[in-house]
Symmetry: C2
Subunit: 235 residues, 2 copies
């Protein structure tokens, strides 16, 4: 197909397609005439993946390029190939903690990992991500949050098992690696959304009593106030 | 305290503190002399919160300003106040789905919400976030991922209940609202990290058989190959 059809199929404007080719995110089409390139189904698939990474995942062009490269040059074992893609989609943050704070947080992360019996590579960027989040928790003095860590870990164990099941259920290596990217990036967005929806629901139920008591107290106060005044007042 | 001490206490450089004041993220200090401002414990606390939002949460200055404003001008009921802060910390993404795709995804989101019996405001930005993620899942033809949605929802119910418990356990309204921000932003990071760690662990266990079989097959192939060649070869 030509670029106009590729644009219709993928929903990506031609100028953006050309930009992705220039940036090395999308392989160029096959030149059939000096000024005309032909594209195939692999281009449609890759374009949809790029849109998900940049729009849903909010990944930069540079990170997206790395993620796609990790699919195109897989590791030597299946575990290494899956890991390479997952590491590429893990955000690197730069929380400015001082050395003792950082060391304490890394130890807390390792203690949790040991407690759960997780088999991990020391170089896992998620270990760093966890340690940075814990350093932030510590800097804010929120020991109550640390006490809930195993609850989060248990929920994560359930989710992670479902994630890997989805990946290993795909028919071939390329689909598996794409599934890692999709599961990681869209999975983060789905979980962030679901957690917020549940929080709103739990808050609606839990604060009814509080807000009811508060409204009643305010009504009483207003009634007292109104009785003490001679003029009607706006509330 | 003067700005130098505020900088030491918070770990934020003086120039950055001045920048946050100019950008409306941090209230100015009290002017004791024409050129000297005094800061207090509230400034230290606010600065730590700003660093967590921008460094761990990766929030922009504009979003951070909104989040802080939602703490400083709370809603009229406790539920509304918590909701205002949570909505401010929810990412707004712009996934370019066409109208039918968007409508289908929103319906899928509402079906899940109804199935779980969650009480929600229709305007909840997390509902939009979920719908956008589902639109992306649909565009990639990943029905297998949709089938796991209730597993994710169950895990989210456990996490969301823990989140709200932490918030309502705080001693006053300002601490509760700060806890919403911290729980939402750091919670996203902690969950993203834990999920990846679990995935790596599950993958390590699940792919042992596959990789073992693959390595054995490769060894056999190499042996056949080596036997057919007269020269030793590097592998």
């Amino acid at each position: 197909m030509r670029i106009a059809e590729l644009s219709r199929e993928s929903g990506v404007p031609p100028a953006t397609i050309k930009y992705y080719v220039r940036e090395g995110l999308l392989p160029p089409g096959e030149l059939t005439h000096p000024n005309q390139a032909q594209y195939g189904a692999a281009h449609v698939r890759r374009l949809k993946l790029i849109r998900v990474l940049t729009d849903v995942g909010g990944l930069s062009i540079a990170v997206t390029r790395n993620v796609l490269a990790s699919i195109d040059t897989p590791g030597t074992s299946l575990h290494a190939a899956l890991g390479k893609v997952q590491y590429a989609t893990t955000p690197r943050r730069d929380y400015q903690a001082n050395e003792p704070t950082r060391a304490t947080a890394l130890q807390q992360a390792d203690e949790l990992i040991a407690r759960r019996g997780w088999q991990l590579n020391q170089a896992s960027p998620a270990r760093q991500l966890l340690a940075e989040a814990l350093a932030a928790v510590n800097s804010l003095g929120r020991a109550d949050l640390l006490a809930k860590l195993d609850d989060y870990a248990e929920a994560a164990e359930r989710i992670g098992a479902a994630d890997v099941e989805l990946v290993l259920g795909r028919p071939d290596l390329e689909s598996m690696l794409e599934a890692v990217v999709i599961g990681t990036v869209i999975g983060d967005a789905i979980l962030a959304a679901l957690r917020r929806l549940v929080e709103e629901d739990v808050s609606a139920r839990a604060t009814v009593a509080t807000d009811g008591a508060r409204t009643a107290a305010r009504s009483r106060a207003n009634a007292v106030h109104a009785a003490a005044e001679t003029q009607p007042r706006a509330t």
